[in-house]
Symmetry: C2
Subunit: 207 residues, 2 copies
Amino acid sequence: MTTTGLDGFALLDETWRAVTPEAARRMLIAAVQAFADKGYHATTTRDIASLAGMSPAAVYIHYRSKEELLFNISLVGHETSLALLSAIEGGDAVQRLENAVAKFAGWHAEFHTTARVVQYELSALSREHHAQVAELRRQIERRMRAFIADGVEEGVFDVPDLKGATLAVLSLCIDVARWYQPGGKRTPDEIGALYADLVLRMVRPAS
Amino acid sequence: MTTTGLDGFALLDETWRAVTPEAARRMLIAAVQAFADKGYHATTTRDIASLAGMSPAAVYIHYRSKEELLFNISLVGHETSLALLSAIEGGDAVQRLENAVAKFAGWHAEFHTTARVVQYELSALSREHHAQVAELRRQIERRMRAFIADGVEEGVFDVPDLKGATLAVLSLCIDVARWYQPGGKRTPDEIGALYADLVLRMVRPAS
DNA sequence: CTCCATACTAAGCGGTTGCTTAGATCTAAG
DNA sequence: CTTAGATCTAAGCAACCGCTTAGTATGGAG
């Protein structure tokens, strides 16, 4: 999961590899960095353009508006984190939940730049774009709830309030994007492991 | 804790009761609502003034700048939530942690409008103001860590990573401000109770 | 009554915003 | 070489930003 030895830009480039042409990708990466750093509304199209090394007008060659840049980031970001959960299979319910929390929390640390935009700029999206992203968020919630429900059915988890526990687990992982700092003491993998342990403690039976 | 039967404005009014004169308080409350709703940078001083029922220039009678409005909100918000934790005493370590999580999470639900500004607009503060608020945040972290450490010393909690657990508990409570909606299924008190239960499960010994 | 501090508004200033236009430059096909 | 299409820049537009200025209303002290 963790791609050590790569700087922030290389990590972002990894996420947005599929975006072409290259200038459009550079623009997206610049937008992610700027939005994550100062917030969507505090970022100007001139900020983005100059970060991408181009003129302000070049933004509008590849994107209809500043909001469309945000939508692209939000969409790909949600799809990526959903794919992470969807890829988890095999093992028992304990291993699957452990895996899910470790990957999901780890992603919010390693790709905290993207994750911050994804999680904290939802309200800046247009009505239609927001609805599209909201559907992805419901799918993410459904996946995580299923991982917990599986263990309850198997009798290895004790969870009095399934929806409440799902909410708390997702919330815990998502909030990593808020406080995580690359220079900190914990690596994304360590955060994933810590959180997986804490969540398993939360759902384990009493004795 | 929960003050049922009061609308959003009355709740805000309760928090900012000490601010005088009345026009300055109305301005602060308008700012909290606008900042929470659209974010600091997307809110204009004209928005705030018109929400308070006054002219744009009236803002500057009572506050030096838009940032000073934010600082006032952030400072009082942090002081309020710190006071919540500081007021907890008596009982055993289990009860104190249960109480602390219930109150702290509950506050982030009930006063989610204020809490959102407090938690998500830190980067909009000036250097000096940010430093002042950061000190309060360190005190909050210290308080919560002490509640957990007490139980470890008494032998009623099993926590392999004290700092990691503290981080997770605070993070869990704080993130309530992001997802909480007044019309939702759970009341602030119910969220507090749910979260207190989940946290106690997280720190209980394996037995 | 006068005097004066306080609280407010109408108008607007300089600067910045998202975005557009007109035109330059490049590449590749005919 | 010519042409067409795509990609970029320089310049700038209308709207809006945080904040200021000049002036008005109010109410209490002397």
